[in-house]
């Protein structure tokens, strides 16, 4: 079998032994690299149009502003669907409280959002100077990602106190044991415990940590998850899915936000799960990290 030319990072190595020598074919990777470099140089010589930074900043701010507005209607509907879907599947055990909340979310959310969208649409504002980020989303880039907490071998972060903010998180505990070394998915419920509507953006994938008596034994790698816009009425809730793996890590396995490959399977036994998820308020409030209380999980 022919060796795979793409295995080698050496650009001087032949790119493909199946390619016959030919005057018009680059016989090695260096020729291909030179052809590409010559082409880029030729374009440089012909003159390139530089990036218009001001247009980029203005355009991206406007796009973020539009997304935030569009969010309102879409998210309320999605949130309602998520909760209703969870009820239909029989996930969780909140009983009447969930049913009441779901009804409220599904029925009230869209009405509120339509009013706001209508207001925005009516205003038809097209500002010449885009506002700064802070006024739009808060300093999103300053948010500590959920994967930055709960490092292997360290104590897990404390659960968010409902008194500190309107949003709380809770994991719907797995109903059965999770096989050692396997992947599993749990539902993470976000609830607005406050008296007013909460609007902003949530990270789309919560980070689920496995801990042993309060010490992290597995956490997800830095997630490349985007944000989902949310609008939750008082008592409203939504559910997201979070994944975890029943493997064991130590501080030595930490690799700049990721974990070493080929971690050993977690020894069978009783552990805990907790979830962390970032939230950015839409009103310029500080970004927060919402951490759920732990729930038991059996690895076996």
């Amino acid at each position: 079998m022919s060796p795979d030319p793409t295995d080698s990072p050496d650009p001087a190595e032949p790119i493909d032994p199946r390619v016959p020598p030919d005057a018009a074919v680059p016989s090695d990777a260096r020729s291909l690299a030179e052809a590409l470099a010559d082409e880029a140089d030729a374009a440089d010589a012909a003159g390139r149009r530089p990036v218009d930074l001001e247009a980029v900043l203005r355009g991206s701010r406007a796009l973020r502003r539009r997304r935030r507005r569009a969010v309102v209607g879409v998210t309320a509907s999605v949130a309602g669907l998520l909760v209703v879907g969870a009820l239909a599947l029989g996930v969780g055990s909140l009983g009447e409280r969930t049913a009441t909340t779901a009804g409220s979310t599904a029925a009230d959310g869209p009405a509120e959002s339509e009013a706001e969208l209508g207001d925005d649409a009516a205003s038809g504002q097209q500002e010449a100077v885009a506002p700064q980020d802070g006024a739009q989303f808060g300093d999103d880039a300053l948010v500590v990602g959920p994967d930055a907490v709960n490092r292997c071998g360290e104590r897990i972060a404390s659960a968010t106190d409902a008194a500190d903010g309107p949003l709380t998180a809770a994991i719907v505990a797995p109903t059965g044991p999770v096989a050692s070394g396997s992947d599993a998915v749990v539902r993470v419920r976000i609830v607005n415990e406050g008296p007013t509507v909460v609007e902003g953006s949530l990270r789309s994938a919560p980070s689920v940590t496995v801990s042993d008596d309060g010490t992290t034994v597995w956490h997800p790698a830095a997630l490349d998850a985007g944000l989902v816009p949310v609008r939750l009425a008082p008592g409203g809730q939504l559910e997201l899915e979070g994944a975890f793996t029943a493997e064991a890590c130590t501080a030595a396995d930490e690799q700049d936000g990721a974990l070493a490959a080929d971690l050993p399977a977690l020894s069978p036994g009783a552990y805990e799960l907790s979830a962390a998820i970032g939230f950015v308020g839409a009103t310029g409030s500080s970004p927060v990290l919402i951490v759920s209380p732990t729930v038991p999980v059996t690895i076996g």
């Binding site: 790119i15 701010r61 880039a141």
Partner: protein, 181 residues
Amino acid sequence: MARTWDDVATRLVAERGDALTRYAYLLTGNVDDAADLVQDALVRTFGTPRFHLELPRAEAYVRRAILNAVIDRSRRDGTWRRVRHLAVAPASTEAESTGTDERLDLMRRIRALAPRQAACIVLRYYEDLTVDQVAATLGLSSGAVKRYLSDALRALSSSIRASDAALLRQAPTRTEGDHVA
């Protein structure tokens, strides 16, 4: 100290703007298209709320956005792409006799590849990234990148062989001054 999106965008444009434009140019072959693609990709990248939007990650997002735009254009121009090699190969073989022409011919063949294959070729052989780095940049698995590279190299090889065969077939006809349909 953490940076805001605008700071990251400003740094990215200042430090990597030219590199991004060259990348787009190598995929499109048109300086104006390349500039437009980069501009749009930057707006899309920084117009989407994201966590941890630091410089290397932001650059990867922009490169993916550029590639996605090239893919979209490719789909729109799908009919032309499917038949383009039929038109390009004879013309290029007739015209080429210098190193510059060979380079142009090679670039035409690279741009005739599927966009993901072309992007892998550019990142691997122009940016000198490893397979794993290409995978991380484009959000693909390493296995997929290897497959794209292998397929691309095979396609480039086949393309050359096909044009050589066409050249041989056309030689007597061209001597007689006829055009090939």
